[in-house]
Symmetry: C2
Subunit: 236 residues, 2 copies
DNA sequence: GTGTCCGATTTGGTATACCACGGCGGTGTA
DNA sequence: TACACCGCCGTGGTATACCAAATCGGACAC
């Protein structure tokens, strides 16, 4: 109970979140408060607080009286991609109007620092770099609500996005497309920037779904719960 | 400890939420866990759980170690309106593609049931009817992520939206604009539907901001905390 | 009169005991 | 053998005691 710098709750939340995102806790896995209490060496109070936050983020869910790690849901992935297209597309249009050249340059510098993608790092790093880029880009809109929405969607997608950037070629493509969006933004070309960005999101999602479909059997073999794709045609 | 039908936590959450949305708990008001425990006759555990959920919804915030009811923030209102334009505009375009005639008719029936707006009810009822309409409309997209985003934005806006529908004329205008969107949707005219909807959202927001600016002094007199509008870099 | 220091009080953070409910298994009976 | 009942055990839900930190007040010294 030393409470060194941050509260137990925050630390526990971070650790649980990391365990879920790294798939150490498998999608669909049942969680018990007392089990987590033992695994993470904390009492139930912070465990419950962390679960509550993760529930709000969509990373865990209630099932009956209990908890599970949110399964990977192909329908949800598609829905989140559509949401991202709408929000990020609008955000980049706002950025064309509002972002200063210096702000755009800062994001470009960030992108350059990450390298052309095929040089640096692994898939996990690619996911983080991509997520950072999209969040920074959204931030240029000056609209915090949009940033939050984008970040939330990226979080819920984080467990699967690495599938799409496994190969250096895929990371290089993503990097190029990010670069093209920034160029259009820098040229204050809203239509091109928005179209490039939404096309990038859509293409990424398509490749992700393809990879997921191909890997579903293998992933299930690893204990991952993958929900079938019930296409978004029917409301409710 | 009777636990009649729903858990203490859920009931407490509902009551706290209602108190905030009805302005019984004023924006900016400081909340203490032990004070709420006493006011709502529950123990701190469900109080903390409810505060956590409300925090995730943006209805309360942490300030230092404590809690406050989220102040009314003009910048946030504008940002949420922009977010709604992006998401609802995209949603209605998806609805044009995906919603069945029967589903559209169901929403239209709901709208008709609410009446032309100037007949039925007060401002509070107008807010609820409007919120329901926008949520149902988003649901026609078949995209739950968009529905959640819209609902979240409407929730965070709920405390101020009544200002915009105080007069029967304003409610009638909103009803007409809703009706026009549905007509365009029914005609499968995506561009018109989206333009009408985003225009409606923008117009509503403009009138809301006008009303808020006019009433700020009076509202502050009632103890409401209104944050100044630090515009997101450039007006529309 | 003013500034500083110290302590009491109040706060959120945490640990834990207790409760009711529900599922599972064993046992007894038909 | 099959089925029904009953009780144990594990679950999340709740209440509460205790802790550390922050704040506020007063008293004292200058």
């Amino acid at each position: 109970m030393t409470n060194v710098l941050a509260s137990q709750t925050v630390l526990l939340y971070d650790r649980l979140r990391a365990a879920i995102l790294s798939l150490d806790l498998a999608p669909g896995e049942r969680l018990t408060e007392r089990g987590l209490e033992a695994s993470f060496d904390a009492s139930r109070t912070p465990v419950r607080a962390a679960l509550g936050r993760l529930d709000a983020e969509g990373l865990v869910q209630r099932v009956g009286r209990g908890w599970i790690v949110s399964p990977i849901d192909l329908a949800e992935i598609g829905a989140l991609a559509e949401l991202r297209e709408a929000v990020e597309g609008a955000a980049v249009r706002l950025a064309v109007q509002r972002a200063t050249d210096a702000q755009i340059a800062a994001v470009a510098a960030l992108l350059e620092a990450a390298g052309p993608g095929d040089l640096a790092g692994d898939a996990e790093q690619g996911v983080r770099a991509g997520g950072d880029f999209h969040e920074q880009l959204a931030r240029l809109s000056g609209n915090p609500a949009m940033v939050d929405t984008v970040r939330g969607a990226l979080t819920r997608l984080a467990r699967t996005r690495w599938l799409e950037v496994r190969t250096p070629a895929a990371r290089a493509q993503a990097w190029q497309e990010h670069r093209a969006v920034l160029d259009a933004l820098d040229a204050r070309d809203a239509d091109t920037a928005a179209q490039l960005l939404t096309g990038h999101i859509r293409g990424t999602n398509d490749r992700l779904l393809t990879a997921l479909a191909a890997d579903t059997r293998r992933l299930r073999g690893h204990g991952l719960a993958i929900l079938p794709d019930t296409p978004p045609t029917a409301p409710r």
